[in-house]
């Protein structure tokens, strides 16, 4: 398996806080790679670096051999990188269907004038986007919510819609920031099967941040433990969980 995502010696500072500290890791095509670590370890910041919301202070980021740092945030999606957010970031005043259709934005083939006239091409494209989105709706069992506004949906459903929006873009790499946080035991179980299927049936590489060690060991091939923005340990879930440095870092937090 080849390396899909490579992070090399990335460093990011917020004022005095070193959020990511000389961090290197790489994710192979087709694997599920998890990042764990206490709150404030810099996990979400790593995602935001990949999304190009922040410029690293130093280091290199590559996706499929291409330099991510040469791209702006919206151009990252064009490469086939989709993500979810720790604090759900949906389009609240739009329906579930419209949210998922925004996920298709990187496949837009029509321009403003064509869309204002709603030419046959726009209609054909809309039908194509819709078909792709319906596949996602079927996969995630979102049928009952298709025409509901996000603003009225329960938390658990929003979490799934956000996963759906990322999937609708047809990504090669999916970044999931705490996909199971705030979910019930059943919902977490569903999430686990979905992540499994996303990897196995759809062949999408998954990079996720997660606190639920049950979920992490259940779905991931490799785990990276992060503390204060630096790598603590990397390996199989079992290796990382038994690593003395990891146990040390987690002592007192009671997570493991």
């Amino acid at each position: 398996m080849s390396q899909l995502l490579e992070i090399e010696n990335a460093t990011l500072k917020f004022g005095g806080v070193v959020a990511v500290n000389d961090l290197s890791f790489s994710v192979k095509e087709g694997e599920v790679y998890a990042i764990v670590g206490p709150n404030g370890a810099g996990k979400s910041t790593v995602f935001n670096l990949i999304s190009r919301f922040y410029d690293p202070y130093a280091g290199a980021l590559r996706f499929d051999g291409q330099n991510l740092l040469a791209r702006s945030a919206d151009a990252v999606a064009d490469l086939g990188i989709a993500r979810t957010f720790q604090n759900i970031e949906l389009f609240d005043h739009a329906t579930v269907l419209q949210n998922l259709l925004v996920g298709r934005h990187r496949h837009r083939r029509t321009n403003m004038v064509q869309e204002m006239l709603f030419t046959p091409k726009v209609r054909r494209e809309e039908e194509r986007h819709r078909a792709a989105v319906e596949d996602v709706i079927d996969f995630l069992d979102l049928q009952p919510y298709r025409d509901k506004m996000i603003a009225g949906l329960p938390y658990g459903v929003r979490k799934v819609v956000e996963l759906g929006r990322a999937l609708a873009s047809g990504p090669r790499l999916l970044l999931l920031d705490e996909p199971a946080s705030g979910l019930s035991v059943e919902e977490t179980q569903d999430m686990r099967w979905w992540i499994d299927d996303i990897r196995k049936q759809m062949g999408i590489t998954v990079l996720m941040v997660e606190h639920d060690m049950g979920l992490v060991s259940g779905v991931s091939d490799r785990v990276l433990a992060l503390a204060d923005g630096a790598k603590l340990a990397e390996g199989t879930p079992a290796q990382v969980q038994s690593d003395p440095a990891v146990i040390e870092a987690y002592l007192g937090t009671g997570v493991v």
Binding site: V76, H105, V122
Partner: protein
């Protein structure tokens, strides 16, 4: 209650969800077309005014309701559309060329002005755009040789394929012209809403971070919203010029900008209906107030600022009790009737929303 049995994706993509709503809008259009035979010239003029305000409302709605960018500078774009259309016609251009070119010109200027404004958010953007409204007045005076400054300009006769159209002598023709432009603008707006760019506008409005993570170019999308919004506003401005007959540097003042913004909030942000409802309020409020004054017998007393005051009160009441505007209220009443007698009291209570922060953690 109407139940939709959908058999293809096209059901959701096409303009009207079902035969019933197609029928309603078709009937509305038929009534609109035969209106000159149903009304006297005075009321036809008032309806024309409503439609022109509605076009201007659609323009600002696209930017503020759809894309979430407030602007208090739109009077300047009304002025630009108005002056450029009439100046082009004075150069001998036919209306059918001068009018769309004036719209496009206003759109292009709007896009250029948007580029520095795009980084501003919310109230800061609103404040920055106020400057435009104020500057417009000065620029019109400074450009006296072209704009005739303080003395102002008169709108020429519109001629389309030899047919003469003028607000006072042929109010029915002018009404039909405005109606046709209203329908075209509404269709274009509606088409945008059901295609990628319209969804990108809403995405930028609701969450810039996730919009850009989905591949939406934020600056370009905002610039497109500004451009389209200003183009439609420019068209409305030209029509306002023809409607007023004469205009000068004070016609398109900051008050017009404020009225426009209040109008779409009262009508209902983010919906096409909202622009029309708001336009009805704006256009009929002065008439309504003078009738009310007649009723209490105070018609001879002039109360300065009464109109603005009442308008402001209505706005405050809406923000407090019906933030979704008249359109939101209308939807609720409609759903209540459709479900009758099954509507529940707490049906429209929103699920508690979750704290949203600008931070990405």
């Amino acid at each position: 209650m109407r139940i939709h049995f959908k058999t293809s994706y096209d059901h959701d993509i096409r303009l009207f969800p079902d035969l019933w709503s197609f029928g309603v809008y078709a009937a509305l259009l038929v009534i609109a077309v035969i209106l000159p035979w149903l009304m006297d010239d005075f009321f036809l003029g008032e309806v024309t005014n409503v439609l022109i305000w509605a076009i201007a409302g659609l323009g600002l709605m696209l930017l503020t309701g759809q894309t979430g960018q407030a602007s208090l500078g739109h009077a300047a774009f009304l002025a630009l559309g108005c002056y450029s259309c009439i100046i082009f016609m004075e150069q001998g251009w036919p209306f059918l060329i001068a009018f769309p070119v004036a719209g496009i010109l206003t759109g292009v200027v709007g896009t250029i002005i948007a580029i520095p404004a795009i980084r501003l958010h919310g109230i800061y953007l609103a404040i920055a755009t106020i400057a435009l409204s104020i500057l417009a007045d000065d620029i019109i005076v400074l450009l006296d040789p072209i704009t005739d400054g303080v003395s102002g300009k008169f709108a020429p006769m519109i001629t389309i394929f030899g047919i003469e159209i003028e607000r006072w002598t042929t109010p029915d023709r002018f009404y039909w012209l405005v109606l046709a432009i209203t329908v075209l603008c509404t269709l274009a707006y509606r088409n945008l809403l059901r295609s990628p760019l319209g969804r990108a506008f809403a995405a930028v409005r609701d969450s810039e971070v996730s919009a850009s993570a989905m591949g939406v170019h934020i600056a370009r999308t905002k610039a497109a919203a500004f451009g389209l919004s200003c183009a439609i506003t420019g068209l409305a401005g030209a029509l306002m010029g023809f409607y007023a007959g004469a205009f000068n540097n004070e016609t398109f003042s900051i008050v017009i900008s404020i009225t426009l913004l209040m109008m779409i909030v009262i009508g209902g942000l983010g919906s096409i209906h909202g622009a029309f409802f708001g336009a009805v309020v704006v256009a009929f409020l002065p008439q309504f107030l003078s009738m009310a004054k007649d009723l209490v017998g105070g018609s001879s007393v002039a109360i300065p600022g009464l109109e603005t005051g009442v308008f402001g009160m209505i706005l405050i009441l809406f923000i407090l009790f019906e933030p979704m505007g008249i359109y939101g209220r209308w939807m609720k009443i409609r759903i209540w009737f459709e479900l009758f007698p099954f509507a529940r009291k707490d049906m429209f209570k929103r699920q508690k929303s979750y704290l949203k922060t600008e931070r990405l953690r």
